[in-house]
């Protein structure tokens, strides 16, 4: 089947969506413009800045380098899906406490990248955290607060027996 428009049926943050879109539409633009989830930010549109990072089946990926049509039948989590009705994700709390954001543009990508990272590595070293965010550019913080927040969130979740 070949076409320039196609139906996308996908689950985002636990909710099912169905839209007909141009096949050239990126998943990032689909999330922002088709279903209105503008938490995912689009910085460079060519896979360098990491701001558009989302989770597909729990794996961090750049949503600007995937077509919306490729997301059919996938399970997507965006930054909007990290908090629960009970409150923010522990990593979000830690970002707040440690001033891990200033302008906030990189924050959605940092959070999604680091949540996936902490699920694999619940007790990381500082060097491991820095490596984990090597694909995410932040032009405000100098990364210091982001690293401190991640280490603190990991410690707190570990102490509370919680999983990222």
């Amino acid at each position: 089947m070949a076409e320039q428009r196609r139906k996308v049926a996908t689950s985002v943050n636990g909710k099912d969506y169905e839209r007909e879109v141009d096949v050239r539409l990126s998943l990032a633009d689909f999330l922002r413009h088709e279903i209105g989830l503008t938490g995912t930010h689009v910085g460079c549109e060519h896979g360098v800045c990491g701001a558009c990072t989302i989770l597909i089946d729990g794996q961090s990926v750049r949503s600007c380098l995937i077509l919306a049509v490729q997301a059919t039948n996938q399970t997507i989590v965006t930054v909007e899906g990290l908090a629960t009705p009970q409150g923010m994700h522990p990593l979000q709390e830690a970002f707040w406490e440690h001033h891990a954001l200033q302008c906030g543009f990189c924050t959605p990508g940092m959070l999604t990248t680091l949540v996936a990272f902490l699920r694999e590595n619940s007790d990381p070293t500082e060097a491991e955290v820095r490596d984990a965010i090597s694909g995410n550019l932040c032009r405000c913080t100098g990364y210091q607060g982001i690293v401190a927040a991640t280490l603190d969130a990991a410690r707190k979740m570990l102490a509370a027996g919680e999983k990222a």
């Binding site: 089947m1 070949a2 076409e3 320039q4 196609r6 141009d22 096949v23 050239r24 990126s26 633009d29 549109e45 060519h46 896979g47 990491g50 990072t53 794996q59 961090s60 990926v61 750049r62 600007c64 380098l65 995937i66 077509l67 049509v69 490729q70 990248t113 996936a116 990272f117 820095r130 490596d131 984990a132 090597s134 694909g135």
Partner: protein, 291 residues
């Protein structure tokens, strides 16, 4: 920017994929998309048809069998990075993958995509050279094998022809006792390498080098092996002078120059990184021998 309009095809078998690629004009196979999408976004590449291989599940596997480690072309880099089989039989691949982009791109990027894109600094091309990979290429009219040595034809140009796709990549496996090391210099973590060197070595019971392989990336448009140095290493006992000889050999290659990096700096890095990679590979081989 946004890519120019194209038609999208999502075959579920390899036969369907090569039929499409063989019959459509200006069609591009799409694997992980971590290099192709940036090129399409910049409109350096404007295909009329995109043939998405992500649904071709038969091209996603890692298999160790009869002296070879086989990768299906659309096997994701992170699958390879965390594969126990790969860590056991071809550990340099895992070490090299740590330098390939970032976790987010490795979660999507594939081995076949990286080899087909063929950036001169690509780590996976380097380790494919080291392991004398045999590439299986398919098209509507059949299949053929290409030796990795003959795969690169020039800057970002491979022997893959229109209508063909890479299907299987088979690494020749070395013995359990081999040592290995991958060294790279880039401006930032995860950036394209300026120069990268991979080395593997096997020692005989007397401690002499039985076999060595060294591959240099980022210096020339196509990665290359240091065949003369490899030959000179065989039969010798590891020493500073011997490693230095290989390193100097590496720095003699004609190097590329661009707006960021001078040819002489690439040659300098080739020498330093060859020394480090070979030294570490030999050390690892010696440690394994001691058990």
């Amino acid at each position: 920017m946004k890519p120019s309009p194209f038609s999208y095809h999502d075959p579920s078998t390899c036969d369907e994929a090569v039929d499409l690629l063989g019959s459509l004009d200006n069609a591009r196979p799409l694997s992980g998309g971590q290099s192709l999408f940036p090129l399409m976004h910049f409109r350096y590449v404007m295909p009329d048809h995109v043939v998405d291989l992500n649904g071709v599940k038969e091209l996603n596997y890692i298999r160790a069998q009869s002296g070879f480690l086989h990768f299906g072309a659309i096997t994701r880099q992170s699958q390879i990075e965390f594969s126990e089989d790969v860590g056991r039989v071809a550990p340099i691949v895992v070490e090299a993958l740590k330098y390939v982009g970032h976790r987010q791109t490795r979660n999507r990027g594939t081995i076949g995509g990286s080899l087909s894109h063929f950036d001169p600094t690509a780590e996976l091309a380097n380790v494919s050279m080291l392991h004398d990979a045999e590439l299986d290429v398919r098209s509507k009219s059949g299949q053929r094998k290409i030796a990795m040595q003959d795969f690169g034809k020039g800057f970002m140009t491979t022997d893959i022809q229109d209508g063909e796709i890479l299907a299987d990549i088979a690494f020749k496996v070395w013995g359990d006792g081999h040592g290995y090391a991958f060294e790279e210099v880039s401006k930032r973590r995860g950036d394209f390498a300026i120069t990268a060197v991979g080395a593997m070595a096997e020692l005989g019971p007397d401690g002499a080098i039985q076999r060595a392989a060294i591959a240099v990336s980022g210096v020339a448009p196509v990665p290359f092996r240091l065949a003369a140095a490899e030959q000179a290493l065989a039969g010798q006992r590891p020493s500073h002078e011997l490693i230095r000889m290989a390193a100097i050999e590496a720095s003699k290659a004609e190097a590329m120059s661009d707006a960021h990096v001078d040819a002489s700096y690439r040659q300098h890095l080739a020498r330093i990184l060859t020394y480090r990679a070979l030294e570490r590979a030999l050390k690892r081989a010696a440690e394994k021998q001691r058990g």
